[in-house]
């Protein structure tokens, strides 16, 4: 097997340069590549275009990169509660492209599957359709949406082996598998790095061929954005 292991997040992101386009996995703060985000902040890479469903919160996730003004443009479906984000957006420092969540996922998928464009009905008749080709199939209108073109995809998995095979845990899976397939270079940080042979081939979510670098992250905070609980009844 081909060994994809790098030492740590700093080595994994060593060649991410100013002005590049990155995909970052996660939904809200769930399943985000915490270690690589911190390494990007240490490196101070600037003018990044970030494709990620959300933009973190003020003091966690991509929000930390926004604090350091490393992001020039966000491509997201929902940017949520983030005061610094709002300030930069209103001041014109930050560009934001909001796209439907399914379109975001499917444009990643298109890249991973080598399909240059896909058709989706999402956004037909709305401002999302502006400037896009509309095409009717079987009586229904669809927008033609283009595959993303990202220099790096940065994903977080639960377990990974040295060949880059990945398994995600629960809803921390979200955008991670489709982004893992879509990057020109894909970096995976995992909670547990294991030897080849320890993952069941039938249970692998992302085959190692898509992953260029893998490392075991540390100090995962896994912050909860909306803690909701059921009262215990005695």
């Amino acid at each position: 097997m081909i060994n994809k292991v790098v030492t740590d997040a700093d080595e994994a992101i060593r060649d991410i340069e100013d002005g590049m386009t990155l995909m970052l996995g996660g939904f809200g703060l769930c399943g985000i590549p915490e270690n690589c985000i911190k390494a990007l902040i240490r490196k101070g890479t600037k003018d990044l275009t970030c494709i990620s469903n959300n933009a973190g919160v003020d003091d966690f996730g991509i929000g930390l990169m926004l604090q350091q003004k490393q992001v020039r443009k966000m491509i997201s479906s929902y940017v949520g509660e983030n005061a610094e984000f709002e300030r930069q957006l209103l001041s014109g420092e930050l560009e934001v492209e909001l796209i439907p969540q399914g379109t975001l996922a499917t444009r990643c998928m298109a890249a991973g599957y080598g399909m240059p464009a896909i058709f989706t009905p999402a956004g037909v008749g709305t401002e999302v359709a502006e400037g896009k080709e509309v095409r009717n199939f079987n009586g229904k209108d669809y927008l033609m949406e283009m595959a993303f073109d990202a220099d790096f995809a940065i994903v977080k998995a639960w377990k990974g082996d040295t060949a880059g095979n990945l398994i995600y845990r629960s809803t921390a899976r979200n955008f991670n598998p489709v982004m893992a397939m879509a990057g020109k270079v894909t970096i995976a940080e995992v909670e547990e790095l294991v030897a080849v042979g320890e993952l069941d081939p039938d249970s692998i979510h992302t085959p190692g061929i898509f992953v260029h670098r893998v490392f075991q992250g540390n100090n995962y905070e896994k912050r909860i954005e909306q803690r909701t609980v059921t009262e215990r009844r005695l």
Binding site: L90, G123, T171
Partner: protein, 223 residues
């Protein structure tokens, strides 16, 4: 008496049929889960990648890796399945989800919906709403009939940027249950208890169609 949010949710819950896969939006739609009738088997889909969403966890049992599309901590149920975001919207696009329930700022009499953007205000994004409304076979909107200024939100045409066109099938508000007719127009199906047709007429800026006697909703929860 206008319905409470809980009562709107309760009324909507009666639209759910046995064997449905249902996607619930944020806000009132989320409450619908509390009122699903006994004996009705329903599977809740959460577009971040879960089929079979269970209740919130007990305190101390929250799992940061297990959230719903509203980013709330939740649980799975026996028979739950996890999948990635592309597959999630795949099943939405291929119409495997039987019913979508979501909120709205405005609905027009031809079924257009606006629920994501107010010009001049900070826009948070459409999330999965545009995908859901563009693909769902069956969309029920839970909304207030009028805004805080007393202006109708059921309009001849939406004034806000659209989320989707000609997609809303049914609307449940604090005042009424309405069907959006394929040819256009809000057909009044039910009144909230004690609310008159006249009150609903006054609160509806779009074309309201009233045919025959309009029954009162059956609401059992006290709200």
């Amino acid at each position: 008496m206008a319905l409470s949010k809980e009562q709107i949710a309760q009324r909507i819950s009666r639209e759910i049929r046995d064997g449905y896969y249902v996607n619930l939006g944020i806000g009132i739609p989320t409450l619908v889960a509390n009122y699903i009738p006994q004996g009705i088997n329903v599977v809740l889909q959460s577009e971040n990648g879960l089929l079979g969403m269970g209740p919130f966890p007990y305190e101390g049992e929250e799992d940061p890796d297990l959230i719903n599309a509203g980013k709330q901590t939740i649980t799975t149920l026996p028979g739950s399945a996890i999948f990635d975001s592309a597959l999630s919207f795949g099943m939405i696009r291929s119409q495997k989800v039987n019913l979508t329930i979501l909120g709205a700022m405005e609905v027009s009499e031809n079924g257009d919906i606006a629920n994501w953007k107010i010009p001049g205000k900070m826009v948070k994004g459409m999330g999965g709403a545009m995908d859901l409304v563009a693909s769902a076979k069956n969309i029920i909107v839970a909304m207030q009939h009028v805004n805080k200024a007393g202006e109708s939100k059921l309009l001849p045409e939406c004034t806000l940027p659209l989320t989707g066109v000609k997609c809303v099938k049914k609307i449940v508000t604090e005042l009424a249950v309405l069907e959006v007719l394929p040819a256009g127009g809000f057909k009044l199906l039910e009144r909230a208890p004690g609310v008159s047709v006249e009150e609903i007429k006054n609160a509806t800026a779009g074309k309201l169609i009233v045919e025959g006697e309009i029954p009162e909703m059956v609401i059992t929860s006290v709200g």
